[in-house]
């Protein structure tokens, strides 16, 4: 291997006093050669982004470098003064961020933002900058580059914005590209395209890429070498294939095992249960009020959607953002009103009920929300948050609070948690509280809208396990809405695939994974990162013990 381009030696970053640990990263050393893709993997709080931030000179205030060097082409980035560092940034080191919407200036045309990169370094004339911007947009394969040049960021989709970000990072032909979770906010198919693009550009330009991610599927897709971090330390480093096939460190093994369900859905007993929920011909159109010069805009969120859900069954609704899957869930629990169609719970049509009768029925359908931070009222104690449902339905206060304590132990938390406020809990714990709240009304059906998407993989696995256990213990039915096919494969008996408000395919999870009939389903399956990699396939049985 050639001379390393970036060499990090014994880097230690100290956190401000009073933090939960002393060092953000401790004694971290790795190197990156030209033309190589290094994936830095870890869960949130592992310090994986901090090293990259130190390299870019973007350390948040309060963090200090206490030890170590970061040599870029022989020069120590950490000892460099700001002007020298600034000249390096952008020109020789490019960076792509996670959230493409907030990383772009919303009030500036895309073309101008790319041109600004040249301007900041005082390169080229205005005309050349414009031509270069166009060439870059072509290189990152945006559809119709000339019009994209004049577009504002909000006019582009998430994937297109990320392409623009990549174009900006590549504008000055850097030797090193630092990509911090660049595909996390994107849909699977878009993620696959962006990964492909990065890999492609990296090969063509011979760049080194430092790719920070939490997803071992992405690692399998793109990495030459992997560096696994846990609580600020490197626990394992090596060739990507080797690490994936035979992880040496226990933490790496748990991370790989926690990738939900591999890519093949396990077979389930196919007994056809009696239907609990029947949805027929559901329609919902979002209309924006037109102005004087603006026509009304209509977005079809649901188009003649119909399905049944059996008692004790887990039904997965899978689709990308904008497919209408969340709207469907919200219509079923009653947070949205569909334009037409019927929703029947155990034979009662919810849409014909009103007032007290409707509230009585609604009790049977509860929801677990996506964001564990937004779904709990910061000013209400956890016990009360769980008990308020029963109290609103007439259960005496003391008994409801007592039951809340029981429920907390049911979901694997301490009963004493009832007296604390939500901010004292971690994301996974909060999601457990959210589940306890949904259980408080003894529902028959739980709608989980992206309930594990905001969680780290290992926590994700625990929460899925909890849902699975509760489902059998309490004989619940589960409607599981997710964009992540790997999660769906782990927990669902049957799947519904949605695209643009329509159901394009439904059937048993096993059948859909093995023999998808609709082209869109095939596209979704093909886009799962790491699917074609033998290494992850080998790891799959460990992750899905139910598989025969």
């Amino acid at each position: 291997m050639s001379e390393p381009l970036l060499q990090i030696e014994r880097l230690t970053l100290a956190l401000p006093e009073g933090a939960d640990r002393r060092y953000a990263v401790e004694d971290v050393s790795y190197s990156l050669a030209a033309g190589e893709v290094l994936c830095v993997v870890g869960e949130s709080g592992s310090g994986k982004s901090m090293t990259a931030n130190a390299v870019m000179g973007l350390l948040p205030p309060g963090l200090r470098v206490t030890q170590g060097r970061a040599l870029f082409d022989g020069a120590d980035l950490l000892a460099m003064d700001e002007p020298t560092h600034r000249a390096l940034r952008g020109r020789r080191i490019g960076m792509v961020f996670q959230e493409p919407m907030t990383a772009l200036n919303p009030l500036m045309r895309v073309g101008d933002q790319i041109a600004e990169v040249f301007e900041a370094h005082g390169l080229l004339t205005a005309r050349e900058r414009r031509e270069k911007a166009l060439a870059l947009l072509e290189e990152v394969r945006l559809p119709d580059p000339p019009s994209a040049l004049r577009a504002y960021p909000f006019e582009l989709s998430g994937g297109q914005r990320q392409r623009v970000m990549i174009a900006m990072a590549l504008a000055l032909e850097p030797q090193l590209l630092v990509a911090d979770e660049p595909t996390t906010a994107l849909d699977v198919t878009t993620q696959a395209q962006i990964l492909h693009l990065i890999r492609d550009l990296q090969k063509r330009r011979g760049m080194a890429v430092m790719f920070i991610t939490h997803d071992f599927g992405v690692v399998a897709e793109i990495a030459d070498r992997v560096c696994v971090m846990c609580e600020g330390r490197i626990v394992e480093m090596g060739d990507a294939r080797e690490v994936l096939a035979s992880p040496r460190h226990a933490y790496t093994r748990t991370l790989i095992a926690a990738i939900p369900g591999g890519v093949a859905a396990p077979a389930r007993d196919g007994a056809d249960p009696a239907p609990l929920l029947t949805v027929e011909g559901l329609n919902k159109v979002y209309r924006s009020r037109g102005g004087w010069w603006q026509p009304r805009r209509e977005v079809v969120a649901l188009d003649e959607v119909g399905f049944t859900l059996g008692r004790g069954e887990t039904l997965g609704i899978v689709g990308e953002s904008g497919s209408g899957k969340s709207t469907l869930g919200r219509c079923i629990v009653g947070l949205e009103t569909p334009d037409s169609g019927g929703i029947r719970l155990a034979g009662t049509d919810l849409r014909t009920l009103t007032g007290q009768a409707l509230r009585e029925q609604r009790r049977h359908i509860q929801m677990v929300f996506q964001d564990p931070y937004a779904s709990l009222n910061p000013r209400i104690r956890v016990g009360m948050a769980i008990a308020q449902g029963p109290i609103a339905n007439g259960v005496p206060r003391a008994r409801a609070l007592e039951r809340a304590r029981q429920l907390l132990t049911t979901v694997g938390l301490d009963a004493a948690a009832a007296d604390r406020f939500p901010h004292e809990f971690s994301g996974g714990q909060r999601q457990r509280i959210g589940i306890a709240r949904a259980l408080a009304l003894d529902p028959e059906l739980i709608v989980a809208d992206e309930a594990v998407s905001a969680l780290d993989v290992s926590i994700q696995a625990q929460v899925l396990e909890l849902l699975e256990r509760l489902k059998t213990e309490l004989s619940l039915s589960l409607l599981f809405i997710t964009h992540d096919l790997r999660v769906a494969a782990q927990i669902c008996d049957r799947l519904i695939v949605m695209q643009k408000g329509c159901i394009v395919e439904q059937g048993s999870a096993e059948r859909i994974f093995q023999a998808p009939s609709h082209p869109y389903t095939r596209e979704l399956l093909a886009a799962i990162p790491g699917r074609h990699d033998d290494a992850t396939a080998a790891a799959a049985p460990a992750a899905a013990p139910r598989m025969p």
């Binding site: 929801m367 937004a374 779904s375 009222n377 910061p378 209400i380 308020q388 609103a392």
Partner: protein, 277 residues
């Protein structure tokens, strides 16, 4: 970190709190320190501060003790400031909450009413209201409350608009809580911090308004107030400047203290924002 410790970290807020405490103390002790009516003439007029022992702040144009006037005036200023703010909150918070929570037609109607009050200049409306009713403490409090509730309604409405779509509110709706519970238990507690900050500043504005009304001679004729003192002394500004300056400084300090406390509350209630500064 506890609320109080965050509040105390802001030195300005602490200074404000101390000044405010002194003013409150002065107002409470006024009947003990100066048991006689502040309107009573006790010495010859135009005594400069310190000219005669027993009259540390001198006497005014009619020979009344300025120190006694100041102490009794503090009571009126604070009373008017706090009570009118409470009344304004009592009007503004429910209106804003209903408008923001229900939206649609309710919102339209309530906001048009709010705008009706906002389009009339505050002070002019207050003068008209006091002039129509008899000038008295009650009418002044009411007039000030009537002109100062619209911003509260606007603020609360805005908070409700953004909070009512939060997931925890939707979750509470799903478990069957009614509108009353959703408004009072789920959303309102989360809107309180900006409202408290606004209220502390409103007390300051109300004190200024009361002073302005008294200055124009629209104060309660039976109670001594700082605004009346300035108004009465303005004709003799050149002979006895201290007669205007002393109550003026009292108003300045009180309003400043309230603003400092308001800013401290803002920092303490929104720790994330405070840290960014």
């Amino acid at each position: 970190m506890s609320f109080f410790r965050r509040f105390v970290q802001n030195r300005g807020a602490l200074v404000g709190l101390v000044i405010l405490a002194l003013v409150v103390l002065l107002a409470l002790l006024a009947p003990l320190l100066y048991p006689e009516s502040p309107w009573r003439m006790v010495q010859r007029p135009f005594l400069a501060p310190g000219e005669l022992p027993g009259f540390p702040l001198g006497t005014d144009t009619m020979g009344r003790d300025v120190a006694a006037e100041l102490a009794h005036g503090a009571w009126v200023s604070l009373l008017v400031g706090f009570v009118s703010t409470l009344v304004a909150l009592a009007i503004g918070v429910p209106l804003g909450a209903l408008a923001g929570y229900f939206g649609g037609r309710t919102d339209d109607v309530l906001m048009r009413i709010t705008e009706f009050f906002q389009t009339i200049p505050n002070f002019a409306l207050a003068i008209v209201l006091v002039a129509i009713m008899e000038p008295s403490i009650g009418s002044i409090v009411l007039a000030i409350a009537v002109v100062s509730w619209p911003p509260v309604a606007r603020l609360v409405r805005g908070e409700f608009l953004s909070l009512k779509h939060r997931e925890y509110v939707e979750a509470a709706r799903l478990v069957g809580q009614g509108h009353r519970d959703l408004i009072l238990k789920q959303i309102l507690p989360n809107t309180l911090s900006p409202v408290i900050v606004l209220a502390s500043l409103m007390v300051a504005t109300a004190i200024l308004l009361e002073s302005s009304l008294s200055f124009l001679g629209l104060g309660d004729p039976d109670t001594m107030s700082w605004g009346y003192m300035i108004g009465a002394a303005r004709t003799v500004m050149r002979q006895a400047w201290w007669l205007s300056v002393i109550p003026g400084v009292a108003i300045l300090l009180t309003v400043l203290a309230l603003n400092l406390v308001g800013e401290g509350l803002d920092d303490a209630l929104n720790p994330q924002l405070a840290r960014q500064r």
